[in-house]
Symmetry: C3
Subunit: 161 residues, 3 copies
C-alpha cells in the first residue's frame, strides 16, 4: 500500500447477495476514485469468495452446514424477498437492465482496480475451510489483527453485517 492514497476498509460479514452488492459497489467506486481499498471477508461473508461448486468439508453436521452454505458469488440469495429464488432472479434481471455488473463481474473489476481481498482465517478454522477453497482473486489469509492494522490507516471503515 502506498502512503499517499486515501484508504477504505470494509468488513463483509454477510453472505447475502444484496449486502455483498452494496459492499462491492462501495469498494469498486472507491477504488475507481483511486483509494486503496481492503475487504475483509469473515463468517458468512466467506461464501462470497468460495470457489463455485467447491468441496464440502467436514462430516456429519458440519458437512450439512457447509453444504447449505455453499457459496460462490453467483449462488448468493437476497436477505429479503428471496421468494424461493424469484426475488433474487428479479434483482439480477433488473440490475442487468439498469446496466449494472453482476457480483462476479464486480469481484473481478475490484481485483483489476487493486482492491485487497482478505479471507478471515479464524472463521476458516471454525468451518474447516482451507486456502484451496477460495477463488484466486483472494490476496491473503489473515485474522482480525491484520484487519485492524489496515483499519487504523484508513479514514473510512465500514462493517456490513
Amino acid at each position: 500500500m502506498t502512503e499517499d492514497k486515501k484508504k477504505l476498509t470494509l468488513v463483509l460479514f454477510s453472505g447475502e447477495l444484496d449486502k455483498a452488492l452494496a459492499a462491492f459497489n462501495i469498494a469498486t467506486t472507491a477504488a475507481a476514485m483511486d483509494k486503496d481499498v481492503t475487504i475483509f471477508f469473515t463468517f458468512w461473508g466467506l461464501n462470497v469468495i468460495k470457489k463455485p461448486g467447491g468441496r464440502v468439508p467436514g462430516t456429519g453436521m458440519l458437512a450439512l452446514m457447509n453444504r447449505m452454505n455453499r457459496g460462490g458469488a453467483n449462488r448468493l440469495k437476497l436477505s429479503k424477498f428471496n421468494m424461493l429464488g424469484a426475488g433474487t432472479g428479479l434483482m439480477q434481471h433488473f440490475m442487468g437492465r439498469a446496466g449494472l455488473p453482476s457480483l462476479e463481474q464486480m469481484l473481478a473489476m475490484g481485483k483489476q482496480l487493486g482492491v485487497h481481498y482478505i479471507a478471515c482465517t479464524t472463521t476458516m478454522g471454525v468451518m474447516g475451510l482451507t486456502e484451496q477453497d477460495f477463488v484466486p482473486e483472494v490476496e491473503s489469509f489473515a485474522g482480525a489483527a491484520t484487519y485492524l492494522a489496515a483499519a487504523d490507516e484508513a479514514g473510512v471503515n465500514l462493517f456490513i453485517s
Copy 2:
C-alpha cells in the same frame, strides 16, 4: 457544509423499523451536538423515505416486489419479534410511553437540524423509482461517489444493514 463542523455519515441499508430508529437516534443526537450529518439511504433503506401510499412502479414481479416493499416511515416493521405487527405496535407504544418521538417525527426533526438526506440513485434505477416517489425532506439524489466524498471528510462513518 461548513468546514468547522465535525462530520458524521450513516449508510442506511435496512428498511426495518428498529434499525431506522437506531440510525435516526444517532443522526438527530449528533446534529443536536452541532455535527454536520449525512444519511445515505440505499437498498431497503429507501423505504424509510418513500412517500406513504405512493405509487407501485413496474409490472409483474417488479410491481409485486415494490408492493411488498411499500415503505413510508410509518409502515416499517421490526427486524425481530414483529409477530404479525404486534411487536412493532408494542415498540411504538413503549417508545411513546418513554417520551421518544416516532420515526416520522425524527425524520422531520433531523431535517430541521440540518441533516442531509441522500437517496441512492443506483438502487432507484434497479427498483424503477423516480424522485417523485420520495418525501420532500430528501435533499439530493446521488450515487456511491457522492457518499464517499462525504465519508472522506467525516470522522465517524457507520453502515447500518
Copy 3:
C-alpha cells in the same frame, strides 16, 4: 481513557451469537494490541450483557417480548442456520475445537483488557430494564451522546447490526 492510545468503538445492535462473536473478536484483538476499546450495546445487543436467568420486566406483551428476548451471553442464537439450536451448538463445538474462547469468556477477557462496556439507556427505557438487569462487567449506562463523544475520538468506529 488516556490520550496516547488509539481508540476504537463498536455499536453492538444485534443480539445474535455470530454477530456478537465478531464484535468481541475485534474488541479483544484491538484491546490486546493496546487500543482503548468501547462497546456500546443497544437494542437487541443488550441481550448479550443481560444477567443469565434474570427477571422478565413488564406485563402482558412487554413481558412476552422480554421473555423471548431473555439474553445472557450463553443463550444467544446464530442469525442463520440456527436449526432449532443444532447450528448454534455446532458453532460452539467447532469454536472449542479450533481453540477459540466462548462468548462469555470473551466478555470476561475484554473486561480484563480494559474494554469499556456501555449499555444504552434509551433502549433500557423502552424495554423496561434497569441497571440491576445487567452483568457486573458493564461499566456505565448512557445514551447516544456519550457514544458519539467516544466515537469522535476514535479512528475506527463500526456498527454491527
